[in-house]
Assembly symmetry: C3
Homo-oligomer: 288 residues x 3
């Protein structure tokens, strides 16, 4: 590719960014293409030509409140001093000037588990966990989790930890066209898990989810028969969910037993989901 041609590519890319025609993914693709042609490092291309400058601006909204995004159309935000009138309307305790916000279209379990690690690691509290009926046409929930903090740096840190953990906590979410199953395990539950499921803090925790709900019933039965665990909560489409097409079982008990129960439920869940569609695949990399 000669220099003139490359210049043309740059120009085209810039034009498309400006008009909003091009997606951030495509910008990166374009940059990679140029880097390959010019035999340069990708970052070099970016710096030299500032091709993705505007694209970056669009991707990173340039708001101090923006923290980042993650899998599941998850967005992380922070508000240093929430407006006092809104504070009241939201029903947030007055001691929290700062809030951290995690919101997602897809996933509630993964976000709650990730937030649980965040409250362990930071000086924050869980203000609220709300579960919209979502997953973009899937069988499950989205999520809105609010952390409260007296200091904005704590709220920001909690959001950062949550976003980072999500890659792991999506590991045992398996999906196909017919539905999804989800497994979660924590050796030591903290405040987010307690808030969401009423599970005892400091003890092992397991979460077993199957959608369509019939699969969840079977997974739940398998889990409790496999090992000596205690049921913390059982939710179904009409009780405890936001009318999602899931059965959700939360368990506690001895660490080994909980893990074993979760693993057995996973095997059954994968087989049943497969009976309805393709082989279910992990959203990231299984961690349990």
């Amino acid at each position: 590719m000669n220099t003139q041609l490359i210049e043309k590519v740059y120009e085209e890319v810039r034009r498309k960014i400006a008009s909003g025609e091009i997606k951030p993914d495509n910008i990166e693709m374009a940059v990679n293409e140029i880097a390959k042609c010019e035999n340069k490092d990708k970052n070099e291309v970016i710096e030299e030509k500032k091709v993705i400058e505007e694209g970056t601006f669009m991707q990173e909204p340039g708001l101090t409140e923006f923290v980042g995004t993650a899998i599941g159309d998850t967005i992380g935000l922070v508000i240093a001093n929430i407006d006092s009138e809104l504070h009241a309307a939201m029903g947030i305790d007055k001691k929290f000037h700062s809030i951290g916000i995690i919101g997602a279209r897809t996933g509630a379990g993964p976000q709650i588990m990730a937030a649980d690690e965040a409250v362990k690691a930071t000086n924050t509290e869980i203000v609220s966990i709300e579960l919209p009926r979502d997953t973009k046409g899937g069988a499950g929930h989205g999520s809105l989790i609010i952390f409260g903090a007296e200091d904005v740096s704590d709220a920001r840190r909690a959001v950062e930890v949550t976003l980072k953990e999500l890659n792991r906590t999506f590991g045992d979410v398996y999906g196909n066209d017919a539905g999804h199953i989800e497994l979660q395990y924590s050796a030591r539950a903290s405040l987010a898990i307690e808030k969401a499921f009423g599970a005892p803090v400091g003890k092992s925790f397991g979460l077993i989810v199957g959608g369509p709900a019939a699969i969840g019933v079977m997974m739940a039965d398998t889990a409790v028969k496999t090992a000596n665990v205690e049921i913390v909560a059982y939710s179904s489409p009409a009780k405890g969910t936001s009318y999602s097409n899931e059965v959700i079982l939360a368990i506690t008990g001895d660490s080994g037993a909980v893990r074993q129960a979760v693993i057995s439920a996973r095997e059954v869940g994968k087989k049943l989901l497969n009976a309805l569609g393709d082989v279910p695949t992990s959203s990231t990399v299984p961690y349990i």
Copy 2:
């Protein structure tokens, strides 16, 4: 197509089945393709070459609890001895050791009507009917129906009957991109219809559903004006549904009147749904 080529096709199909890349639909397509080339019957190809053996295995999870699948991403399961702790958490009467489970992403009416035939035909009871807000991004519900039985063979039979009936009860579900309408009719309602809609057992029953809900209002008005029927239940997005975008009218009365009301509502519903999109088509074959 020569023999070598056919062998290659088989090999490729087997590899893709094993890796989970290929869907059951595609397996069938592949088999049909081969049958055409070899000038053989499809079943002959299957038997001879065992092409879809593994595909079948994947589709049937090899669990004794698995009964089968049907239209609407419906899965049928049975648990011979449900765990006693889970039993309590689910709120199931202790007398039922065995449960049959019907779960679906798409459809509540068809599954309830099919389950109604199942309870007529077997020694089972309806333990619960729950309606998630689902249909995979559509306007309606999914379903989770649990049969209780003292004997596992009864529970299994109920699930089998339900799965088999679904092909019929989806017959008057008509959909297009804009929504769906659904009609159901039973000359003699039994326990599933009573549980779901409060309709009197032993009498004629009609169900009229339209989504978006506005279409359902119009269908409901048409139905009750057409014939002398009695309204059993009227549900709308904020009352009686799981926030689905439907109006649902349940009617009872003289058998001929109910049927006539349902048929009139169907005609109006099809026309209105067509005003928003393509010509609505039956999911299977109309039965009313």
Copy 3:
């Protein structure tokens, strides 16, 4: 293409229309194809051969109750004399013999704002506003709005005005694959806005919506910090919505302040939604 062949095409098209196999889009395609072959104008072909006659009939239901359709899979209907039994089941005040019906798969805010203009312009009342969890797999609501009138012509007029206004009220609905934001503004709220949000009639009104909900929180905080406005209602996935993945803020106050608050929220919302996906685009043309 010779005449015989063309005749065959016509015949095939007619047959497919009759059987419901062919979609209106395809009919048009077929007509265009024929027009090209015959070197004729499209309308000429339609008129001459009446190819799409039945197709057209199917699109417009030919019912006196049908008023029209609009963006968002919105349908407008009118019932001159609603059945008295249904009247009671729906819980409608007996004084309204006639009802106007607006139903949509996508959108509640736009339909409510449009209905607000309709009640201002006609002798009707708002009987009910119900919000299904819908938007066809999106993050928000659909809607079912019922106007009551003593005279059917008033009900029809209200539906007509609503359908016509929707093009405008969808103007500040911006979406991408990750979600949507919505802004609404009225210099003078009327009865639909009062019914839906409890906002004071006759005063300026602003609506700020973000989905996923986290974006709505941030938009709400921006709005109330921008100008001196009063919060009328704050809704979130678990309170005040139908489990939609939205935060919805309704504000009132001085006209300039409300407008300014809405505009600031829009800028922040667009940036944040863009952080999750493509550049959000207006559904029609922005009006605020």
